[in-house]
Symmetry: T
């Protein structure tokens, strides 16, 4: 049927390199256990600082996927 | 014990007919895999438009249920 | 005088049928004790679930009325 | 090209009947002057009250459409 | 690898005694089924009233844990 | 009839001792003039400071009760 | 006793002249029926337009007062 | 027909004198190109500082008008 | 005159490559039809997922420009 | 270098006269100890009431200045 | 002069015991370097979890003090 | 002692190149005068536009550091 139902989960990806990599990590990891991922929304960007440099980027995402 | 703990999940129901049907779809689908659903809150209402008409209503719900 | 002052109160209407009926119930009940109701705003829509079906819709409204 | 750009406008539809009709009115009116309407989001539901009854529903929508 | 991915879930703990106990209940219950719980954030505190006394405290938490 | 209507009022309780006591004060005071109090939500916690110590806790609550 | 409890009500003042006058009208009107008004917070400023000029300013306030 | 549809646009008015003048400027300018302006809401007040004095007030408004 | 008035519009740029490219696309497209673009604010970052990879980044911007 | 860094501080100005004077007081006081103040944003307007009249306006501002 | 100006700073207190102790720690520490602390507002409550137990409470406060 | 207290400050970094560089600039500048920087959160991303191109990215951060 075309009247799909979706589930939305919240995931935090991290990366030492960039915000983009943090987003990618979150989605790659989510796709290992969840099928039919369809969209994401960035809800927060944070990070850890060490010695005056960004040590880690943390991107919190809402990720939506189809419930079969 | 009476001091229950609940879990809240986010679900998006869709319907070609109405917002109410979109809400119903979300709850019906959730109740297939989650027991003891107790309450919901509508957090967003969106929709898709086609040829100047609403083609699909999308209701995002938070749904709470008892953890046994 | 034309420079009216309004009061805003928060009311929750409920209905086993629909969100619309829940809104109507709230306004009908408010109009029994408050005169000169002028406008409302829906601030939250929640509901109770029983056996995988919506058992009750709950619409929280802000309702404004003229202070004489 | 596939990398589309969209514009989002804010519109308020009204109806004496229902919230759904207020949404429909907003989208029908928007589609007269804007082409390629693709989606909407309900950002507020208000209304006018007269003699203890809802006289008018007002649905504020964000409506998105493709820029050619 | 050090570039961890986390999942965030929403849980409501309850207690007849205090907000603190409601938070503790939520985390204790979550730790039964989820490993590697790392942090929480209190997103809402509500409660039930009976005969003019607080009968139950309800603490809604976001709880984060490492995905292995 | 089972389709109840509720009213929500905003109250600020204070206490020199603790946040919990401030919540209790608000609900005790409200229950003197309002019957059928059913639930509360904590919407803000503030306080006054004197000589580097908390002198007073202030808990702002929304309190709901049944309209007969 | 020094551990006071306060009530907060929402009022909309209007003025054809200025936002300040709209605030004043709201507080003057509230003080006719409520004693011990202590503070206010401006939560919204709106207005009506006629012929390209502001015809009326509308200031929505939360007003707090001591419950005796 | 009485079931009007409105459009809402966002405008920033500025003034070296006062917030009120900044609001007036925004509405005067909007009324040159938009007919049937009906209401506004102030969504942000900012300003520029020069030499420790306010050099410019900036009032961001949402302005609503009837679509014919 | 120095007391300028600005208009703010909402635009969604997309890109298969990066969030930055999505922002650039939105601004490049807006500058084709709007003159005197002055500033932007990122209000939301979303995206589409396909086969466990980000297929498209979507950046929603508010863009401000001078009204002549 | 042209790639400046700014600091934002939060300040509350008060006045017995008007909101404008409260804003001015906050900025005048801030400029005594902070150089290069560049902009402000009004984040809250509150006040104290005495005998049914506004006794004091309180304007909370975020104020930005260049870090040298 | 009675038209005081206040500064608001954001501080995070921590405690292994309770939220209250985390608040107290923040205020005690702030009072070592800032004089005339007058009020606080709790803006966030978070915590760290270890082995299914709360290991640390973290209370983020806005703290206001008089500028002389 | 392990029960640390942190301070959170708000900083705006700018860059002609990218959002990432704007974040880096803010943190590098903050680390010149503040020791023990521990984390950041991106609270706003804005920018300036010139001739239809992004001329400057502006990233507003909350930055937390340990108070000794």
């Amino acid at each position: 049927m075309t009247e799909a139902v979706y589930r939305v989960v919240e995931i935090v990806g991290t990366s030492e390199e960039s915000i983009s990599r943090a987003i990618d990590h979150a989605i790659e990891r989510a796709s290992k256990t969840l099928r039919h991922l369809g969209w994401f929304e960035v809800v927060q960007v944070r990070g850890a600082i060490d010695n005056g440099k960004v040590r880690q980027y943390q991107a919190t995402l809402k990720v939506g996927f189809t419930l079969e």
